[in-house]
């Protein structure tokens, strides 16, 4: 089980990012848990200034925009 956090204020890009991870996980058959973090203090606490950001198992793996699908696949396979 991989635990993802999508950091963002709830804007469109953040929703798209969460959906992208969910869809990829389903396609690859990987079990994931996705949590959306909208609290600004928490988001900046991760050191992320440009949203959406992605946290995988407690570590920031991406910041600033919707991630590339290939990258998402790499996270899921790792």
């Amino acid at each position: 089980m991989k635990a993802f956090k999508v950091l963002g204020s709830g804007c469109k890009n953040c929703i798209s990012t969460a959906k992208l991870i969910e869809d990829k996980a389903k396609a690859l058959g990987v079990a994931v848990e996705i949590e959306k973090v909208t609290d600004m203090a928490a988001i900046l606490g991760f050191g992320v200034m440009s949203t959406p950001g992605v946290v995988l198992d407690g570590k920031v793996v991406h910041a600033g925009g919707i991630p590339q699908p290939d990258k998402v696949a790499d996270w899921l396979r790792a």
Partner: protein
């Protein structure tokens, strides 16, 4: 093309009101969307390396005077959507950037940007563009200085000061030409996707004004002889929101109706820089007295700008 569409295809005549409005609409839709796509793509390619994290480093620890100018220029060079305003605001303060400098950035960013500048220049000439740019920057810088002088840090929500960012995560940037082009296209999709509706509504209003509202109507309520036209334009603009691209067709139509340049620019600034949705977003980090100051300062500044231009150019 607009001629062909409005007059040949729909069989409207050039002197009818509907024909006039439809012609304006088709012409502006074509012009503005082509311009918008080209500008956003070109600037996106150039700007692919200008991330918020980088701006933060550029502004942090700089002496005050250059920091204000730089914040204004960075605000002009970056179109931030309002959903990134809050993290950016906190990120800058956390890096020790003074409140005034941060606010200069937040004021200039929606009001002066490359899209507005290139479109104003292409459709209305470089003189109006230069006026708009210089006064927009001045309003932003003076606003930041005033906020700093009044010690308005105390009106920032307390939790903001408690945030510690630690190691800042960089936005990844692909520096290759392909990466930059991809970024440019992504910006086109994102920005055009966000603004197209405002642009269409703006063009619709512009077309309506163009075809249906008689010249005398504006001459009476907002012409050079009415001393209250400028404050009226600014007050009307405060609750309304549109982005700079959406305002261009309205500005174009109003100027064509003989409204004074100052009145029209004051309206444009008021609509793009202050709006209820933006104030609600800023409420997350700023207390009410600061927001009130922010709105009143900008309203007064825009009224000043309007009178100044009407006086200088009138």
């Amino acid at each position: 093309m607009a001629d062909w569409f409005a007059f040949s295809l729909l069989g409207l005549t050039a002197d009818s009101k509907l024909g006039d409005a439809v012609h304006f609409f088709v012409e502006d839709v074509t012009k503005i969307f082509v311009l918008l796509t080209v500008i956003v793509f070109a600037v996106g390619m150039l700007r692919s390396m200008m991330t918020p994290e980088r701006m933060r480093r550029m502004l942090a620890g700089r002496r005050k005077a250059p920091a204000y100018g730089l914040a204004g220029l960075l605000g002009a060079a970056t179109p931030f959507c309002s959903c990134s305003a809050v993290p950016l605001f906190i990120g800058l303060l956390e890096a020790g950037v003074p409140m005034g400098v941060t606010m200069t950035f937040l004021i200039t960013s929606p009001m002066v940007n490359e899209v507005a500048v290139v479109m104003l220049a292409a459709l209305l000439g470089w003189k109006i563009t230069a006026l708009y740019f210089v006064t927009g920057m001045t309003v932003g810088i003076l606003g930041g200085l005033a906020i700093d002088a009044l010690g308005m840090e105390r009106f920032v929500e307390d939790y903001v000061w408690k945030i510690r960012m630690g190691q800042v995560v960089e936005t990844e940037v692909d520096h290759s030409l392909r990466g930059r082009m991809a970024y440019g296209w992504q910006q086109v999709r994102e920005i055009v996707g966000r603004v197209w509706l405002y642009v269409l509504i703006g063009i619709g209003i512009g077309a309506g004004l163009h075809g249906y509202v008689p010249q005398e109507f504006f001459a009476r309520i907002a012409g050079p002889d009415n001393p209250f036209a400028v404050p009226f334009a600014v007050l009307v603009g405060i609750p309304l929101y549109s982005n700079a691209a959406g305002m261009i067709p309205i500005v174009e139509a109003l100027l064509a109706k003989g409204l004074p340049v100052g009145t029209v620019l004051a309206l444009m600034m008021s609509i793009t820089a202050i709006s209820l949705p933006e104030l609600m977003i800023l409420r997350k980090v700023l207390k009410v007295p600061m927001l009130a100051f922010f709105a009143v300062y900008l309203a007064v500044a825009f009224i000043g700008v309007g009178y100044l231009f009407n006086f200088v150019l009138g």
